[in-house]
């Protein structure tokens, strides 16, 4: 109602509504009879309407009960307007009904219905839910609605969004670490490192060294030069480039590349830095929902621990 803050509009709506209802009743009453001239003029058996010279409209009256149906609609609208808020916001209606109240009632009904089910899963630990067919499916549905937009419907992520189905974890793959990522969210801060490393050539040298860590094809001469500059990176990624889940520093020795595994892509990462963000879901999802999603994500990366199950079936 923000557009109609003036009380004027309440009365505007109320008056039009009341006049319409009363008008319908008066119209019905006035149109249920007609005056006819006896003896002169058109035959009272016809309405007096003539088309095409000879086509007459006969007077075929409706049954009496039909008229009462019309009056019942008038009575119905009066009763409705007394019970429900149909006359602007000044009169709330005797039932005090609101659309938000109805919505809250439905939410409450859903909670009483599904609450016990969610509560029972909240008591189970993550690997147990991952092995439970129904719990996994519930988690999968929550995942599809909330997580798949970034991580993909199969959880395999894409550029900039981690793959959740492999064994590599930016922030740790234990149940508690996954839950923390979901509940609190994560902010990865890879700063722009170009200044610390040196010039553009030095950055590419480091990129070649990073590629060498995972055994990818690289220029070994440039990699050797880059190894010296890598000291600046070791603070977070470790001297061996193994990464640090506590900081969200990626393991550079595996073959997964969040932002691309070419020299150009790695050089861009070093030059400009990267800021990956996982939003916090507390507040949006309930504890039980987050718990179920944790279990589903856990099951994606640990298919052996979750019971082999057929695809979700509706």
């Amino acid at each position: 109602m923000s557009d109609f803050t003036s009380v004027f509009w309440d009365y505007f709506v109320a008056i039009i509504t009341v006049v319409s209802v009363v008008g319908c009743g008066v119209f019905l009453w006035s149109q249920s009879k007609r005056r006819v001239k006896v003896g002169a003029g058109p035959d009272p058996d016809t309405t007096g309407h003539v088309w095409d010279g000879d086509l007459q409209e006969f007077h075929n009256p409706l049954p009496q009960w039909w008229m009462w149906l019309f009056y019942i609609t008038v009575v119905f609208s009066v009763v409705y307007l007394i019970l429900y808020p149909g006359l602007g916001t000044q009169f709330k209606g005797m039932l005090n009904w609101t659309s938000s109240g109805q919505h809250q009632g439905e939410v409450k009904a859903a909670e009483t219905r599904y609450g016990p089910l969610f509560a029972s899963y909240l008591k189970m630990d993550v690997p147990a839910i991952a092995a439970d067919e129904r719990g996994r499916q519930m988690g999968a549905r929550i995942f599809q609605n909330n997580c798949a937009q970034c991580h993909g419907s199969d959880g395999r992520g894409s550029r900039g969004f981690p793959n959740l189905t492999d064994s590599e974890w930016q922030w740790g793959g234990a149940p508690d670490a996954i839950r923390t990522s979901i509940v609190e969210g994560r902010k990865a801060a890879m700063p722009p490192m170009a200044a610390a490393v040196g010039g553009a050539q030095d950055v590419e040298d480091v990129a070649h060294y990073v590629l060498s860590l995972s055994g990818a094809s690289h220029d070994s001469v440039r990699a050797t030069r880059g190894k010296e500059k890598f000291a600046a990176c070791a603070a977070c990624h470790g001297p061996e480039g193994k990464g640090n889940p506590a900081l969200g520093a990626l393991d550079l020795t595996n073959k997964t590349w969040l932002y691309g595994g070419t020299v150009a892509a790695i050089a861009e990462t070093i030059t400009k830095g990267r800021a990956g963000v996982m939003p916090a879901w507390k507040g949006s999802l309930s504890d039980a929902e987050m718990h179920l999603v944790t279990a589903y994500v856990y099951s994606l990366a640990n298919p052996g621990k979750a019971a082999a199950s057929p695809p979700a079936t509706k």
Partner: protein, 485 residues
């Protein structure tokens, strides 16, 4: 005085009215009860037999169908909650709504065709309103007698005898109505379970509502409303005139032969008295379920039930005159004295031929579509979040989600295959199973060698084939995106 005359009555205005005699006329009229006479001769008359035949056929089908079993389930069941329509071996899904559309179009064109040829055949013989009114009037006759007894009974003051008869009639009506409501709901929820719930008084709120609602509608429409439904409420009765023409078969009174009407005398022949064949027995008016006089010509109230034909033929036979004074004929035939051969030949007129052509075309199309229907539905949706990604070994990966609906009633295994790009393979599971009449959501990952895929979009096809029947296969086209570097 019938209902129409009642309304046309002009009430005299107050005595103070001027000489210019003005009067007030109500535009609504009190309904006047109609007491159609059922008994015409000793036996059922010809068209009466036809009407009872359609009553029996339609009601045996309606009341009997929900009790048949097929594949260990109700043979005909429209499960609205699960959105599955079972019709014997056929399982229809919401996606099959086009078949329902086809059936409705066929029904509409069949109605047009029958109306153009034979007038209100549907109204007179097959419409539920007519059929249930027929059943309810039969019950009424069993308790209160035929036309004259019923009129006498209604004029009598209330007495224990009158009350008992009326009450018994309503109890019987309500029983039939409730059974009708129960049967109707039994098409949408398993009828045996519904029956058990009703006996145990554990019926669900909505089921109870619809049983009572449909029962009430049956009781009200067939017991109380009757011809008023046809006269004031039915839209078909109103647009039928668009399908009528001068060559449409209607119930007609042969005015040239019948008039002037009169009782005649034993001493003089009708010809000597200058009388037509109508002996004015009034039977045609007494049997009419809508209370009209067919001798006034075609009227909008006439539902084409042919009761007056039966009545007139009976009288003609009795007085020794030829039958057919009231008969199925066309406006053209009566006016131009066409013989029956000339009248029937006029069936092949453009209107009828066009309706027939449409009916035939749509029936054929529906039959072909039904026979080519594959009991498998596949919907392939690209993941929107990720266009394409690169795998550890440098290949290009696209992800999809596939909805597979198994519309048979047995668990089935399927295999996925892809085509459209050299070296394109399915990286996810290629084989999966879907339960009976169930939907599965399958993640599909496709891989292609980076060297084979140029950046941009490529048309590919994914085929899902049932393992046990290669004829059950669906091909879905989609796009595979190459990486931009």
């Amino acid at each position: 005085m019938n209902a129409v005359d009642e309304g046309r009555k002009v009430e005299a205005a107050s005595t103070a009215a001027t000489e210019q005699a003005e009067a007030v006329q109500s535009l609504y009229a009190k309904r006047v009860e109609i007491y159609p006479r059922a008994k015409i001769g000793d036996r059922l008359a010809w068209f009466q037999k036809w009407r009872w035949a359609t009553v029996w056929i339609t009601q045996i089908v309606f009341y009997g169908l929900p009790w048949l079993t097929w594949n260990d389930r109700q043979a005909v069941l429209f499960e609205l909650v699960a959105r599955r329509f079972y019709i014997f071996g056929l399982v229809l899904w919401p996606q099959d709504i086009v078949f329902l559309t086809g059936i409705l179009i066929i029904a509409a064109f069949a109605l047009f065709l029958f109306t153009a040829v034979g007038g209100r055949l549907w109204c007179g013989y097959a419409c539920p309103q007519t059929v249930y009114t027929e059943i309810f009037m039969w019950i009424e006759k069993a308790f209160e007698g035929d036309r004259n007894q019923r009129m006498r009974l209604d004029r009598e003051p209330m007495s224990p005898r009158k009350f008992a008869r009326k009450a018994a009639k309503h109890v019987a009506w309500i029983a039939v109505a409730l059974w009708t409501g129960y049967t109707f709901v039994g098409y949408f929820t398993p009828i045996r379970e519904l029956g058990a719930e009703m006996v145990a008084l554990q019926i669900g709120g909505w089921s109870a509502f619809w049983v009572l609602f449909y029962g009430f509608a049956t009781y009200g429409n067939s017991g109380w409303m009757r011809e008023q439904v046809c006269k004031y409420m039915c839209p078909y009765a109103r647009f039928q005139s668009a399908m009528f023409d001068q060559d449409t078969l209607i119930v007609t009174y042969d005015e040239a032969r019948g008039e002037p009407r009169g009782g005649g005398s034993r001493k003089k022949s009708r010809a000597e008295l200058g009388l037509g064949d109508c002996v004015d027995c009034g039977l045609c008016v007494q049997v009419c379920p809508t209370g009209i006089d067919i001798r006034m010509g075609l009227q909008y109230e006439c539902i084409g039930c042919a009761a007056c034909i039966d009545a007139c033929d009976h009288t003609m036979q009795k007085v020794g005159l030829p039958k057919g004074l009231v008969r199925y004929s066309t406006t053209n035939a009566v006016r131009n004295h066409l013989d029956s051969h000339a009248m029937w030949r006029r069936i092949f007129r453009p209107r009828v031929l066009v309706y027939s052509a449409f009916l035939l075309a749509i029936t054929t199309a529906l039959a072909v579509a039904m026979s080519l229907r594959v009991p498998l539905k596949v919907d392939l949706i690209r993941d929107r979040g990720a266009l394409a990604s690169e795998t550890e070994d440098g290949r290009v990966e696209n992800s999809y989600r596939m909805q597979v609906s198994n519309t048979t009633e047995a668990r089935r295994a399927y295999t996925i295959s892809v085509s459209g790009l050299p070296g394109l393979t399915v990286a996810s599971e290629t084989r999966f199973e879907v339960g009976p009449a169930a939907v599965a959501s399958i993640p599909v990952r496709l891989l292609a060698d980076a060297g084979q895929v140029t950046p941009g979009s490529h048309k590919i096809a994914v085929e899902v084939r049932a393992d046990d029947d290669p004829g059950v296969a669906v091909r879905e086209t989609t796009t595979f995106l190459g990486l931009r570097r």
